[in-house]
Symmetry: C2
Subunit: 229 residues, 2 copies
């Protein structure tokens, strides 16, 4: 029985290692996607797109490992919570990676278009904020820090607010300046991607609550108000 426990713990550790690896890849993807957008760096944006395959592979591996672990050890209570959390949270992390890819595609398409500096400053703010929220939630996850998770979820409101601001400002500028139309409509899309990253980080915070308390909660109910003024 003790041997079984040790084997389970060992395999659970392997799951955590792979999960952490996935987290690092996605963290890097956000960082690079934001940097590529700010620097108008098409090459870096392409790297983000190429590396997304490795992120998707992590999710598939984690799904397989998780299902095998459940089938073999039939974990209960807190062990089961650990395994289920990895199964569900890895989807959220994978989708954050997808949004880094969408951002990178926008960077590539925008290459050579007319730019609006004041809006790019706001998007850079959103990008750094989203990146820092993701880094913080990975840290809170490793430390199983409930308080930190609740605080990070609160920070999502900044992204909702910025999205509304960028949307409004883009429309104002597009209305008076014909040549800003292509980039203006991209800015709104890009801000939407960054705002969604905040939503997925909030989901990850909810999984930390579940790990600690065994309760399924909804943090920031009524969010997703991405079109609210």
């Amino acid at each position: 029985m003790k041997a079984m426990r040790e084997t389970f713990d060992h395999e659970l550790d392997q799951l955590h290692v792979r999960f952490a690896e996935m987290g690092m890849l996605v963290s890097e993807a956000i960082f690079r996607a934001v940097k590529a957008f700010i620097d108008h760096d098409k090459k870096l944006a392409n790297q983000v797109i190429e590396r997304d395959l490795a992120i998707n592979q992590c999710e598939t591996d984690l799904e397989k490992m998780t299902l095998e672990l459940i089938a073999l050890y039939q974990p209960v209570t807190s062990d089961l919570r650990e395994v289920i959390t990895i199964l569900k949270a890895s989807s959220d992390i994978e989708r954050i990676g997808d949004h880094a890819v969408s951002l990178s595609r926008a960077t590539i398409k925008m290459k050579g278009t007319y730019r609006i500096a004041e809006i790019e400053v706001e998007i850079a703010k959103m990008g750094h904020h989203a990146y820092q929220m993701f880094e913080a939630v990975l840290d809170a996850y490793v430390k199983r820090n409930l308080q930190q998770a609740l605080e990070i979820a609160q920070q999502d409101l900044f992204l909702d607010h910025e999205l509304a601001k960028i949307r409004q400002r883009s429309v104002e500028i597009m209305q008076v300046d014909q040549q800003s139309v292509v980039s203006g409509s991209y800015y709104t899309l890009v801000a939407t991607y960054l705002e969604r990253i905040g939503d997925y980080v909030t989901n990850l915070c909810e999984w930390i609550v579940f790990l600690k308390k065994g309760e399924i909660v909804e943090l920031n109910p009524g969010r997703n108000d991405d079109l609210q003024e």
Copy 2:
């Protein structure tokens, strides 16, 4: 042992009933959100937003029921696949509901703005297509129809194509017609929501493959090309 089996089957049936109920709510949400957009019907859009709470509640209930079922019966092989699929697929369905809400919010905000009929026609097409894909995947899920699931995933390409078309046309119109800027930038957002619904339907198709074959696959790899021309 037989009694245990019967109790498990009974509880699994309960899970399926709740899952089907969630599917019907989301199907209705897509249908109404698309109709509200086409008819510029703010009241109907508001109904979609209000009813989203019931959808979120379904997901939370399903998570709780699933975790209890795993803890109590420790299902293996195909039973475990059934339970895990509901746990994961319910997240996808809930996110489709979120996109119906985002579409409804756009409908409300656009009320009274200048419209572009030719683009609204294309969005109506996307909306009907997304709705039909979702209806079809619910049917394929109930019937465990692998072939149907693979065909539905293929239909996602139409939504990717339409999004690119709507984006391009909106920008063209906004460049020559100042007063179309507000609605034009909403159209691209709305088309993005509908395209994402297609992505989540594709995820649901992947879960049908998993149920039937026990394999985790990625259908339409390289999708998410929402900004590709």
